[in-house]
Amino acid sequence: MAVIPALLVQGVQMALVLLLAPLLTGLTRKVKARLQRRQGPSVIQPYRDLKRLLHKDVVLAENASWLFRVAPYVIFAVTWVAAALVPTFATGLLFSWSGDLIAITALLGSARFAQALAAMDIGTSFGGIGASREVMIASLAEPAMLMIALSVALIAGSTQLSTIADYMAFSAVGLRVTLALGLVALVIVALAENARIPVDNPATHLELTMVHEAMVLEYSGRHLAMIELAASLKLLLYVSVIACIFFPFGLAHGYVIGLIAYLLKLAVAGVLLGVFEVSIAKMRVFRVPNFLGAALMLALLGVLLRFVSEGM
């Protein structure tokens, strides 16, 4: 029976993304701090934060409903499943066919839905502002993501990430306009979806500029830990998606090489994200639609090019 080892590999993947996610967040923070000539917290600080949050009391607003208490677990579970469906160090995992890139996008949509609802549950104005801005950003980022999925699927002939990664690794794909457009769009979407600068600032608590932080303002203790972990997982997920579509090196050479390659890719992505974030300023909220609209149009252009010409 080949099922047991396959199940084991799938389990390893799930554990791996969960364990590595806070490290990626920590690395990005460290890089940013060093570039700002600060010492910065250690790269394992996110783990310490999670531990600290887990041991704190939950302070729940008086009129919070069951939805507010369930949402963190839903957000965490959905994001974790989505992250586990992305090939990280190997393709063709046991359950990789249970959801394709469209399903992964939609799963992240489910997480966002839960988060936005939880933000509105207490009935504070900050919850409302966060939720309403988040859905505005998502209303552009999600179609852009789906268009990227479509354009990549048109090239690889599949929406399945494993198949796409294999296709990109083995076939002579070459340089394609569609792929270039898709990469730029995907990076923009990843920045927006993960609430990074220039769309949102993960470190801010300045009232009028925050989006993601406004939504989780009322959370504390173990609930906040779940949400923070889910946010880290989401960042890791996007890095994994970019890596497996556009840089599928090492995925086909066994688990050990695949794992080393994956760790390297994560490190590079963390450093690049840190460098990018310190070198750009945050946008005003109503500049964001232009930024994301560009991603949507680039991705749509990529799809159109594929329909018009096979070679693009």
Binding site: H55, A77, A131, F286
Partner: protein
């Protein structure tokens, strides 16, 4: 098998007469809705049993003397009978408990079974005369239901717009059938199938079918009646109108275009794709601007009709290029969405009806915090919101996923129109899915979450058992269709086989109950596994927390960055929630803008903000027509006060002109 649905129709018509008699009695509602429930369940059972069988026809000596009335039950009709039976069974059961808040709930009793009979009759009719008769019966009965609260402001207007649009739709279909019947004038569907209309006639018939059936279904720009009429009716009727009647209109379109017209054409696909894409996005944008819960849901019906038409357009495009397997996939996606939308839209209208019963309010800005007061309704409504937002693992996602798979299937179609329309529709579909999620965060968040904004919302009580049970059954259906989509797809196989000559591969044989439209390497989705994974992951999270983390929990006032405001008016409302989206999309589509008036420093006058939204379609299309009709009736008004001599003179002049025209013609 055709005799059974016809028997149900006869029973329903009898029940309508009974309803007229017993309307004033105390148990009138129970008799009518109980009877409708039993008949609808029988109909559902008949339809489920006959969907895989062949077609059976019957000609009855009714209607026009030299034609007779033909009825037919083929797989397509059987599938839509499933939708009709399920929707009306749910609405009838819900109605058993509904209506406590209504002043005169008995007013709808005679018309309700007649409406169900009309819906059923449209689906089984097999000649143009019976079809149009059933179509008008459906329109008139539902018009009577819309007018049941005729004293409420706006409802008379809603009824008027509805009846005008319904007549218009009937007229377009009449012309369409007239073209299809051809010179021989044989109105039976069998004769129309056998005849092969010339390309020009086929083109005209397609456009007329799109106008006739589309205006009933609510495609933009013919949707104007829908957000007026659907909310005006009692909620169980709204559920039927949105969930079932629009689907019967889609049935009319499919019957004419896929069955009667013969070989599809690619430009027909382009037209339907364009209409579908625009309808989907505009429908959801209208819904986002809305703060009336039932109007919001009605606009969302427009969006979902757009998604269905995208699938139908793809099926036409693939059919025209002789790709039957791809056409079958696209048609399956469209029909799956027909089923899904009928389920979750009924559920959501039941929920809005429950809110209306409990609070008497449809305006979301007067609600809030209902999750505490109506936990069952809130839970069921939440399931409906997740399903309609196309989020996994519920059913709405599956049909949209299938539509995306159909879009991806053939980028190599030769026609340029399709090369541009198909990817553009992909983008519009993605956009409408994301906006739908935003819209239902708003609908659920403002209505059920937060703090109560008014006294009535704060004092709301959970509704009766019939209503909550009906909602829970439909919520369970949303989940079941989402995790076992293969069963629905297999059920649709005979339908697509009959219409496109192909069907999707059998799904229930696939390992682990995945769905695989083409092949596993290409794409697959498994809602059941996704649900199991999410459940396991969430349980692992909960277990770990309970094992390792602090269990302590304190209740405290909301923090809100240190500035909590106890007044519930400081919460986000429907309007403020949609403000970013209004600014991003509405500025273009609705010419939306805000006017802020600030008093000068030191003045004590309050500041004010006004939002302005224009309805571009009403302004560009309906308002000019209304103005023209008004102008013409004013101009013709003089003719009303003439002497008998002058009238006779007019008759004479008309006769002379007609005879002259005839003479010149020959």
């Amino acid at each position: 098998m055709i005799a059974l649905p016809l028997g149900c129709i006869v029973l329903l018509m009898t029940l309508a007469l009974v309803g007229a008699v017993v309307a004033r009695t105390a148990s009138g509602g129970r008799i009518v809705y109980g009877g409708s429930l039993a008949i609808s369940l029988a109909l559902l059972l008949i339809a489920l049993l006959s969907i895989g069988g062949g077609s059976s026809t019957v000609t009855l000596p009714l209607g026009l003397p030299w034609i007779g009335a033909r009825f037919q039950l083929d797989p397509l009709a059987a599938f839509f009978l499933v939708v009709v039976g399920l929707g009306s069974a749910g609405a009838s059961y819900y109605a058993l408990g509904y209506g406590r808040h209504e002043p005169e709930p008995q007013r709808v009793l005679p018309f309700y079974p007649a409406f169900l009979a009309g819906l059923t009759l449209v689906v089984v009719a097999a000649d143009a005369f019976s079809f149009l008769f059933a179509w008008e019966l459906m329109s008139l009965a539902s018009w009577a239901l819309v007018m049941s609260h005729d004293r409420e402001p706006g409802n008379a207007n809603a009824g008027f717009v509805y009846i005008v649009m319904a007549s218009f739709s009937g007229l377009a279909l009449l012309l369409c059938f007239g073209l299809l019947a051809g010179a021989t004038g044989d109105f039976s569907f069998a004769a129309m199938q056998a005849a092969h209309p010339s390309p020009g006639i086929a083109a005209l018939a397609l456009v007329l079918a799109l106008i006739g059936a589309g205006s009933k279904a609510g495609v933009v720009p013919l949707h104007a009646w829908l957000p007026l009429a659907h909310p005006a009716a009692p909620s169980h009727v709204s559920a039927l109108m949105s969930g079932v009647m629009t689907k019967v209109a889609v049935y009319g379109f499919i019957r004419i275009v896929f069955d009667l017209l013969g070989a599809p054409t690619w430009w027909g696909g382009v037209i339907v794709l364009a209409v579908g894409g625009i309808t989907a996005v505009l429908g959801v944008l209208y819904a986002l601007m809305e703060h009336d819960l039932k109007r919001l849901l009605a606009y969302h019906t427009v969006e979902n009709i757009g998604i269905i038409f995208i699938g139908l357009g793809l099926a036409l495009a693939f059919g025209a290029n002789l790709l039957p397997a791809a056409a079958a996939l696209a048609l399956t996606a469209a029909l799956f969405h027909v089923f899904n939308h009928s389920v979750f839209k009924s559920l959501l209208f039941f929920g809005s009806g429950a809110v209306l019963t409990a609070t008497g309010e449809r305006d979301m800005d007067h609600l809030g915090g209902l999750i505490h007061r109506m936990p069952k309704t809130a839970f069921a409504f939440l399931i409906g919101c997740i399903a309609i937002s196309a989020l996994p693992p519920l059913n709405g996602f599956v049909s949209e996923w299938l539509t995306f798979q159909a879009i991806l299937l053939h980028p190599d179609l030769p026609q340029w129109g399709l090369k541009l329309a198909i990817p553009a529709d992909g983008a519009l579909l993605a956009l409408s899915a994301a906006l739908a999620a935003a819209c239902f965060v708003k609908a659920f968040g403002v209505t059920f979450l937060g703090r109560a904004r008014t006294r009535v919302a704060a004092d709301a009580r959970e509704v009766d058992g019939y209503s909550t049970n009906a909602m829970f059954v439909f919520a369970a259906l949303c989940l079941l269709a989402g995790i076992f989509p293969g069963a629905v797809i297999d059920l649709l196989a005979p339908v697509t086989q009959a219409l496109t000559g192909a069907h999707m591969p059998k799904q229930l044989d696939v390992a682990w109950l995945s769905i695989v439209p083409v092949e596993t390497a290409r794409s697959s989705y498994n809602g059941l596994l996704v649900l199991v994974f999410v459940t396991i992951s969430a349980s692992l999270g909960v277990l770990a927390i309970h094992r390792f983390a602090s269990h302590a929990l304190r209740r405290a006032p909301a923090w809100d960055c240190g500035f909590p405001d106890p007044r519930p008016q400081t919460q986000y409302t429907a309007g403020s929630f949609a403000q970013p989206i209004r600014r991003v999309y509405g500025a273009v589509v609705f010419r939306a803008h805000d006017t802020v008036t600030m008093p000068p420093p030191g003045a004590t006058a309050p500041a004010s903000i006004e939002k302005h939204i224009a309805d571009p379609i009403w302004d560009a299309l309906y308002a000019p027509i209304a103005a023209a009709v008004w102008w013409m009736s004013q101009a013709l008004n003089h003719l009303q006060f003439l002497t008998i001599r002058r009238y006779l003179g007019f008759v004479f002049a008309a006769l002379v002109i007609l005879l002259l025209a005839l003479a010149l013609w020959q």
